[in-house]
């Protein structure tokens, strides 16, 4: 039995993970709107790396109850664009040591990530990603069907199916982590360093004076902020509009599904781009699954049946034995999607108002690097190289990040 567990049982309980609610102050050096993974990570790194501690995180609902609570917890860096690979590579690197850093088990579990391909177009994309990954210091490789069968013997490798498995892009660093734990661990360390986290606190208005936001109005009172960071996936366009500008973001629903728990049979994370499905098995034994985004603008997180059904046929072609499983729960999230499937991080048209938005289906895997870079930018006023390509300005100049080809599925 690990020592910590023994201590735990013997009553050495630790400080609360989430501090008790307190009154909202009248002003802060930095106000972060949105208490999800990105908001909390930004607060944490502001306090830790830059000593900025007069920080408030405002969350309209319960802590990390938006997309941080709804994603399928996959972490990977096998993107396509140079900017994307570097950024997500940094994120995976930060994730690796986050448990010890936060003194909280986020259950980072490197399972390996297989992106199957079923035709030569898929194979080309896999090769391109492998090359781009290697160029930017991320390990992934194209493997043939025999190697796929070795890594994931549960896969149906028959050739007489609709989409036979021809090979895969294998990304050994692909991992999962417990999404809630990431948020809770960040929240606890941030508040230990002085950050205030206010839940059930919704921004309902902004006073704009002289090109900056003079005051924020919330359901719990009005406050001033030296700098403001917006991290509100799903509500990004609405909040930006409150601040006085438009965002090139479409908000779309995204669905996920879990099965009943069974003993472990599936180790790696398996994605098929052609079939638009992905699956992994959690530590609890549930199969966590998803499909494509529902490509129409919608801000409700209601569940629907068609994505679930469309995902299941291809899933059972890949794993016929799953026909014996039952689906336990489905849920929806709402994702910010940009035209180039890349996030928007950087200054906004409003002075001292910074953006972290457009996370699409990749917000969870970006939490540490996003917070890390946003904190640096907010603290120093300079845009770090790591996130410079993700500026809002790129839409005005059409200097887009080339992530479209690889972003189809595989959240």
């Amino acid at each position: 039995m690990p020592l910590q567990l023994l201590k735990y049982g013997l009553g050495q309980r630790r400080a609360p993970v989430l501090p008790a609610p307190r009154a909202l102050g009248s002003g802060y050096d930095v106000v972060i709107i949105g208490g999800g993974g990105h908001g909390l990570a930004t607060a944490y790194y502001l306090a830790k790396n830059w000593g900025v501690r007069k920080v408030a995180v405002l969350e309209k609902g319960w802590l990390a109850g938006g997309n941080t609570a709804r994603n399928t917890t996959i972490i990977r860096a096998n993107y396509l664009s140079n900017a994307g690979v570097r950024f997500f590579g940094k994120s995976v690197e930060l994730y690796r040591t986050l448990s010890s850093e936060l003194d909280y088990n986020i259950m980072f579990s490197p399972r390996g990530h297989l992106t199957l391909f079923h035709d030569d177009g898929g194979k080309r994309t896999a090769r391109w990603r492998a090359e781009q990954n290697r160029l930017n210091g991320v390990h992934s490789e194209v493997i043939d069907r025999q190697a796929v069968a070795r890594l994931c013997p549960q896969l149906n490798m028959r050739e007489d199916v609709r989409y036979p498995v021809l090979g895969a892009l294998y990304h050994p660093g692909g991992a999962t982590a417990r999404h809630d734990a990431v948020a809770w661990g960040l929240a606890r360390r941030a508040s230990e360093m002085g950050v205030e986290i206010h839940t059930q606190t919704q921004v309902i208005g902004m006073d704009r004076e002289g090109g900056r936001i003079a005051r924020l109005h919330t359901n719990r009172g009005t406050l001033r902020a030296g700098r403001i960071v917006q991290c509100v996936a799903g509500a990004s366009p609405a909040l930006a509009q409150m601040a006085g500008f438009d965002l090139p973001i479409r908000v779309v629903p995204l669905q996920a599904f879990v099965s009943e728990p069974v003993k472990p049979v599936l180790d790696p994370i398996v994605v098929s781009g052609n079939l638009a499905v992905y699956i992994s098995q959690s530590a609890r034994g549930e199969f966590v699954m998803g499909g494509e985004i529902d490509a129409y603008p919608c801000v409700s997180s209601r569940s629907s049946h068609d994505i679930k059904e469309d995902m299941m046929g291809p899933m059972l072609e890949l794993f016929p034995f799953l026909a014996r499983m039952k689906l336990l729960r489905q849920w929806g999230g709402i994702a910010d999607v940009t035209q180039d499937y890349s996030p928007i991080m950087g200054p906004s048209p409003v002075q001292d108002y910074f953006l972290s938005a457009g996370w699409g289906t990749m917000g969870f895997k970006a939490i540490p690097a996003g917070g890390y870079a946003m904190a640096e930018m907010v603290a120093t006023g300079r845009v770090p190289d790591l996130i410079a390509p993700f500026s809002l300005e790129r839409f005005s100049t059409l200097s887009l990040v080339g992530e479209r080809a690889a972003a189809a599925v595989g959240h």
Binding site: V17, Y163, P261, P320, K326, T397, L398, G402
Partner: protein, 967 residues
């Protein structure tokens, strides 16, 4: 093994059983015998050769008897013929079945996993967040161990999708005026009421027979008659479709219900939905409340009346409503000793029932509750009870009864889940001490216990009211029945030694919820996530109410203001196999598919289509591709290009449509002439190309790429309505087939085949076309250039494809013509440096990047993507370049497509296509260069050794640069 408590009662108990028909199967390798009509659970539990429980719990591996006994909770999960997590109490026993207990280490009776229970102090909720991660990276080690302990059943990945007994499921779409969920008294009344008003009704019931809880309850003779009549009328009514053994899993927007039967998946669409789903009884939360031998009254009714299964011989009944008394009377009638009925209510309420109890010698004690259960072996051995004060706190001395059975009826939770899926809201009604639906979704109503109504006659009336609403009659015509308080407000009795289970699926106790609150998880959703309370297979059905109460107490919040956590579909776990019915992506095959497969073609997927890769059979891809390439270059080849997108455009604005859709200017396209087009998206990236043939003044024939055909169809149609063009579009992919005759002997073959048309066809210039009828086959014949030899493309209706194909092959036989596949075609086009959109271009490649900038008619006022191209042209960065290249003749191995290329200053682009050209004896390819200037220096494959192949860029096609072969 401890002595057996459960036993079979004689007839007339057991309404579900057919005692004349025995059923035999195996549980954990030992025989079980039951009767037809038994569930797996009732047969096993009734069999004296087996114990009193058949499952162990998720975390602490505690033995668990039936809780709801109706297939709705995880306490009765077994593995059936290799399928894990089958509810034994919701699945009929069948001959020959192999049933196994699951989540046990060793045997069901002696489970080594039960050791975890003794360590519970070290394993409170969320313990894993504070441990298992030091030293850094050690979590994967611990995770492997934890994963083995977690999970319920075991899934064997080598098994087939379906067992031998299981037919493949099918999907049914049903439509009705009214759908009623639940065929208890409320649902039956509602269905009948609506049907009598002339509505088509679908009645969905998860149990195998109608009647709901009343089918097993102690009814008066009049009620019994009424119920039988109600059932008979519903079954006979021609307007009511009854679906039994069918579970409604979800209620989606627009009144779409999805429901599962064993072999069927239903989509039910109804104008009005009546939720009459009833409620489930809630356990008491006290120490050892999960011991086998502790039952809910409704479960005992079901087991005795339905399955003739008596829970034990010495019983204590704990109640707070009339149902406990009724069950006590039933137990006494079955011959059990009822030691006492403990009524939590301080004063007598049901005088008649109390008198009946007294008549049978059953002691009734008021203001008293069991506060702790005691173990005897693995089973209940005794209970301790104390008086309750006005706030439900235990006071005074402890009274102890030795007993083997405790039956509880202290409250119900309506099954609010479905109504919540569709937008209803559940609140805690402090007057009823129960959850209740306040806001029903649009075009729906709820009735029965969802409204807090339990009395038989009142429920009948409430069902009628729901039917009135469904039929548009004012509901006020009938009086609103009174709500009946069946819930006791205080059902939670903490114990200093814990083990008071709130969640039986997840083994979460009062202490776990308190731990969560102390750790700051002061919101129900956060508490749920931290403790996993309500996340197991029963999804909070037996948990939500007690969890709310415990959480309210621990956090000092007011119950009236708390909301249960968000309810999400499905209501009950739904089979993957059902969901998957008819959702495999379609496979399209061309008109010549059969010929290809019968003539040695190896087929390859290309989007939705299958196309011949080559015709050499399995094993010799390289050789056959080379033979096919040589045939085209030296003699003749025939290619099936039928997956091309095809469109007919008719109307006076057909050219204007092309001008809007493609970057080129089509204004002066003459009748009888063709022109190539390039389509870009709103970001200026190339997405499709076309060849447009102007058939006459108002008609165009458009050939587009295969993959983009559907998108191009949408684009063209959108442009037509946006601009108000006078054009109609007919999409022809698959309806037209395209046969390409290529090679130096192509003309000779045509001359031999159609002497009458030879002149006309021979006269066609490159990119010219003509319309003719070739021996009865109407065709558009195009002079194409993709493979770089004289090429005639025959565009014919797909019904003519095979005839034409055979004629061309026959006429080509003297010239040793060969059919060639996609792989040879790719080599041939690479030799000519022709690009393929989507392969040699990507989402960031514009016309300027592939040398087509000059074709873009910026002087047109509008075309799709015009503003993007204008924008891109203002950028300082130079355009990319798509360049043909070749490798030294010594290199026979083509680089993988998408390998990066490295110039003197670093990576400069990538190989988009490459193949060995047997014609040229070297590898040829196309490369997309981010930095075209760097092509002047030495370029190698990135990451290759210094000696790696040098890439030589060309300014022209590698083969026949002057195009003399196509003259």
């Amino acid at each position: 093994m401890s002595p057996k408590r459960l036993f079979r009662l004689p007839e007339p108990w057991g309404s579900r059983l057919d005692r004349a028909t025995p059923v035999a199967f195996h549980f954990d390798g030992r025989p079980v015998s039951g009767f037809a009509g038994d569930t797996l659970a009732s047969a096993i539990l009734a069999d004296p050769r087996h114990g009193d429980f058949l499952a162990r719990s998720f975390k602490y591996h505690r033995p668990r008897g039936p809780l709801l006994a109706n297939g709705m909770d995880a306490n009765q999960y077994v593995t059936l013929d290799g399928t894990p997590n089958v509810a034994a109490d919701g699945t009929r026993a069948r001959d020959g079945a192999q049933v196994r207990s699951q989540n046990v280490a060793g045997s069901l009776a002696r489970d080594r996993g039960a050791l975890l229970g003794t360590l519970a102090r070290f394993l409170p909720a969320g313990f894993y967040y504070d441990t298992f991660f030091r030293p850094a990276g050690s979590w994967p080690f611990w995770e492997r161990i934890i994963r083995r302990v977690a999970g319920l059943g075991r899934l064997d990945p080598t098994l087939d999708a379906f067992g031998p007994e299981e037919p493949e499921p099918e999907k049914h779409h049903l439509f009705s005026d009214v759908a009623v969920i639940g065929a208890g008294v409320a649902g039956l009344s509602a269905a009948l009421g609506a049907a009598r008003e002339g509505r088509e009704v679908i009645l969905i019931e998860r149990d195998e027979a109608l009647g709901g809880r009343s089918a097993f309850a102690r009814l008066s003779p009049a009620q019994r008659r009424d119920l039988a009549a109600l059932i008979a009328q519903v079954e006979r009514h021609p307007a009511i479709t009854v679906l039994t053994s069918t579970t409604c899993a979800a209620w989606f927007e627009g009144n779409l219900l999805t429901a599962h039967a064993r072999e069927r998946y239903y989509h039910v669409r109804a104008r009005h939905v009546i939720a009459a789903v009833g409620s489930v009884e809630q356990p008491l939360v006290l120490r050892n409340n999960d011991l086998p031998g502790i039952f809910l009254a409704s479960s005992v009714n079901r087991l005795m009346a339905g399955y003739a299964l008596c829970p034990g011989r010495r019983c204590v009944v704990q109640t707070a409503n009339r149902f406990g008394y009724e069950t006590a009377l039933a137990l006494a009638e079955a011959g059990c000793t009822v030691l006492a009925v403990l009524d939590m209510r301080a004063q007598p309420v049901d005088a008649a029932l109390e008198a009946q109890c007294a008549a049978l010698g059953i002691a009734v004690l008021h203001g008293l509750s069991v506060v702790e259960a005691h173990r005897a072996g693995q089973h209940l051995g005794a209970v301790s009870a104390r008086s309750l004060d006005a706030n439900g706190h235990p006071t005074g001395p402890v009274t102890r009864w030795r007993c083997d059975t405790l039956v509880c009826s202290v409250g119900f939770t309506p099954l609010v889940q479905l109504a919540c899926h569709s937008g209803g809201e559940a609140i805690y009604d402090t007057a009823l001490s129960a959850l209740r639906i306040t806001r029903s979704p649009r075009n729906s109503s709820v009735c029965g216990s969802l409204n807090g109504i339990y009395d038989f006659d009142a429920v009948c009336q409430d069902g009628q009211r729901a039917a009135d609403v469904a039929c548009g009659k004012p509901a006020s015509l009938r009086p609103e029945p009174a709500r009946e308080p069946v819930n006791f407000p205080w059902t939670v009795f903490p114990h200093r030694k814990g083990k008071e289970f709130v969640d039986f699926d997840e083994d979460q106790t009062i202490g776990d919820i308190e731990t969560a609150v102390q750790a700051g998880f002061g919101h129900m959703e956060l508490m749920k996530r931290f403790t996993t309370t309500g996340m197991g297979p029963s999804q909070g059905r037996t948990t939500a109410l007690n969890a709310l109460r415990v959480f309210a107490g621990a956090s000092g919040q007011d119950l009236a203001h708390l909301r249960m956590t968000t309810q999400r579909p499905p209501f009950e776990p739904e089979p993957f196999a059902n969901l998957a019915v008819d959702t495999s992506p379609p496979q399209r095959r061309g008109a010549l598919d059969r010929w290809h497969r019968e003539n040695g073609a190896v087929m390859m997927p290309a989007g939705a289509w299958l196309r011949p890769a080559h015709y050499g059979g399995e094993g010799d891809e390289e050789g056959s591709v080379e033979r096919e390439v040589r045939a085209v270059r030296a003699r003749a080849g025939l290619f099936d290009a039928s997956t091309h997108g095809g469109f007919q455009l008719a109307g006076r604005d057909a050219l204007a449509l092309l001008n809007a859709a493609y970057v080129q200017d089509f204004s002066d396209l003459a009748c009888g002439a063709t022109r190539a087009g390039l389509m870009v998206d709103e970001l200026g990236a190339v997405i499709d190309d076309c060849v447009a043939c102007r058939l006459d003044a108002d008609r165009l024939y458009l050939v587009t790429s295969s993959a983009a055909a559907a998108a191009t169809n949408r684009t063209l149609r959108k442009l037509i309505v946006e601009h108000g063009f006078d054009v109609t579009v007919c999409e022809l992919q698959g309806a037209m087939s395209v046969l390409n005759l290529c090679g130096p002997q192509a003309r000779a073959i045509i001359a031999a085949l159609w002497p009458a048309h030879a002149g006309e066809l021979d006269a066609l210039a490159l990119h010219g076309f003509c319309q003719c009828t070739l021996e009865g086959i109407p065709a558009i014949v195009l002079r194409g250039d993709f493979v770089g030899e004289t090429t005639f493309e025959f565009h014919v209706g797909s019904g003519f494809a095979l005839t034409l194909w055979n004629r061309l092959l026959a006429a080509g036989a003297p010239f040793a013509i060969r059919p060639f596949g996609v792989l040879a075609q790719r080599v041939l086009r690479l030799e000519k440096a022709h690009f393929i959109i989507g392969q040699d271009t990507d989402h960031a490649t514009g016309p300027d990047d592939i040398g087509k900038g000059a074709a873009v008619a910026m002087d047109k006022p509008y075309f799709l993507g015009r503003s993007a191209i204008a924008k891109l042209r203002t950028k300082a960065a130079p355009a990319k370049a798509l360049r043909p290249f070749c490798l030294d003749a010594s290199q026979r191995q083509a680089p993988e497509e998408c390998r990066l290329l490295e110039g003197p200053g670093g990576v400069i682009g990538r190989v988009t296509s490459a193949a060995y050209s047997p014609t040229l004896g070297r590898v040829v390819g196309l490369a997309l260069l981010d930095d075209p200037a760097a092509a002047a220096g030495t370029v190698r494959l990135w990451g290759a050794q210094a000696a790696g192949a040098k890439v030589r860029f060309l300014d022209h096609a590698p083969y026949d640069p002057a195009g003399e072969r196509q003259a």
